[in-house]
């Protein structure tokens, strides 16, 4: 991978702005390093925000999935298999979404971990650079300074190039996830994932409510019938008790 190395080196050495006085190179480079540390911090915060957003969505989708499962149970309980099937179908769709979100969340977590380590490394290097910078400046002689400065600056420039790429990568990933997360948010907001919106397949909860209010009407009817029945059979029994007798009489 020599060519790869060369390209990377060429990229990072672009950060090496040659100043008239090598000591200015040191200060300039240090400024850039501090900027890079800030940039990594911001990058990390962005990734963490995206990850938290995904986790929030996971929780919302999970709640919807649980609700659908409960509805399926209720539907089975009242013998409406078609409704139960519809609820379970939707739940399966949500589960696919949930699995996808979990993969994305894991990816973001990995980026976050990598950036955290990169930030630690960079901060240590920047601090070492600051110390070295002061030493070089204090004992400055033009002849030796150039090589020492070159070594220190190109070493840290390489680190910055690496971290810069890592951030870019994390930002690209975050941007993709943000777009997807936006789509999922819209889906959640539209209610299409939940049962609230009546679709051609029907609003499961509404149908269940109708069913349960229907069944409570049935239950009341049955109760009334039973009550009436409790009053009515009594004369019947009397008459039926009398009727065999009446029937026997003609015999």
């Amino acid at each position: 991978m020599k060519r790869f190395s060369e390209v990377m080196k060429a990229k990072t050495s672009k950060m090496l702005d040659k100043a008239e006085d090598p000591r200015e190179t040191l200060d300039y480079s240090y400024e850039k390093q501090l900027e890079m540390v800030q940039k990594v911090r911001r990058g990390l915060a962005d990734v963490a925000t995206s990850r938290k957003r995904l986790e929030l969505q996971q929780a919302q989708l999970k709640a919807s999935a649980d609700k659908l499962e409960q509805q399926a149970r209720t539907a089975v309980g009242v013998g409406k298999e078609d409704l139960a099937r519809e609820a379970l179908n939707r739940r399966a769709g949500l589960q696919t979404q949930l699995d996808g979100l979990d993969t994305q969340r894991a990816q973001l977590q990995a980026e976050e971990d990598k950036l955290t380590l990169a930030l630690q490394r960079l901060q240590t290097k920047v601090e070492a650079f600051r110390t070295k910078k002061e030493t070089i400046k204090a004992t400055y002689t033009a002849a030796e300074a150039t090589s020492k400065i070159g070594e220190a600056v190109s070493g840290i420039s390489e680190e910055m190039g690496d971290v810069g790429l890592a951030i870019q990568r994390a930002e690209d990933k975050t941007a993709t996830m943000q777009a997807r997360a936006g789509a999922v948010d819209e889906l959640i907001a539209s209610g299409a994932l939940d049962d609230v919106t009546a679709e051609p397949g029907g609003d499961i909860q509404r149908q269940l409510d109708a069913l349960s209010s229907g069944s409570s009407v049935d239950a009341e009817l049955a109760k009334m019938k039973a009550e009436l029945g409790a009053g009515a059979p009594a004369p019947k029994e009397i008459s039926s008790a009398g009727s065999p007798a009446a029937g026997e009489e003609p015999k």
Partner: protein, 92 residues
């Protein structure tokens, strides 16, 4: 000599180990030239794992440049190609 695995940091590798690494590197280059994503991932993983195995991590406060820079193990063939193409170098 000092090697860098992108996004992982620098490692010190002895000259003797370099022979072995060169062979794995050849395999990786062949995979890039072939444009075979599967082969590329295997070759890259082999190389990076070997570097991790034979290399000693360089202290974080070390300020020197690396002699060689390797892509991270999760780099894709496209990423590596893009990087090679970026500076006008013809890959392969």
């Amino acid at each position: 000599m000092i090697l860098r695995i992108l996004h992982e940091g620098q490692l010190e590798v002895s000259e003797e180990s370099m022979m072995e690494l060169n062979e794995l590197d050849d395999a990786l280059i062949a995979a890039v030239e072939k444009g075979d994503e599967g082969l590329f991932h295997t070759a890259l993983a082999n190389l990076v794992n070997k570097v991790r195995e034979v290399g000693k991590p360089v202290a974080d406060d070390h300020l020197g440049p690396s002699e060689l820079i390797l892509p991270g193990p999760d780099a894709t063939l496209d990423e590596v190609r893009d990087m090679l193409a970026d500076d006008g170098l013809i890959p392969g």
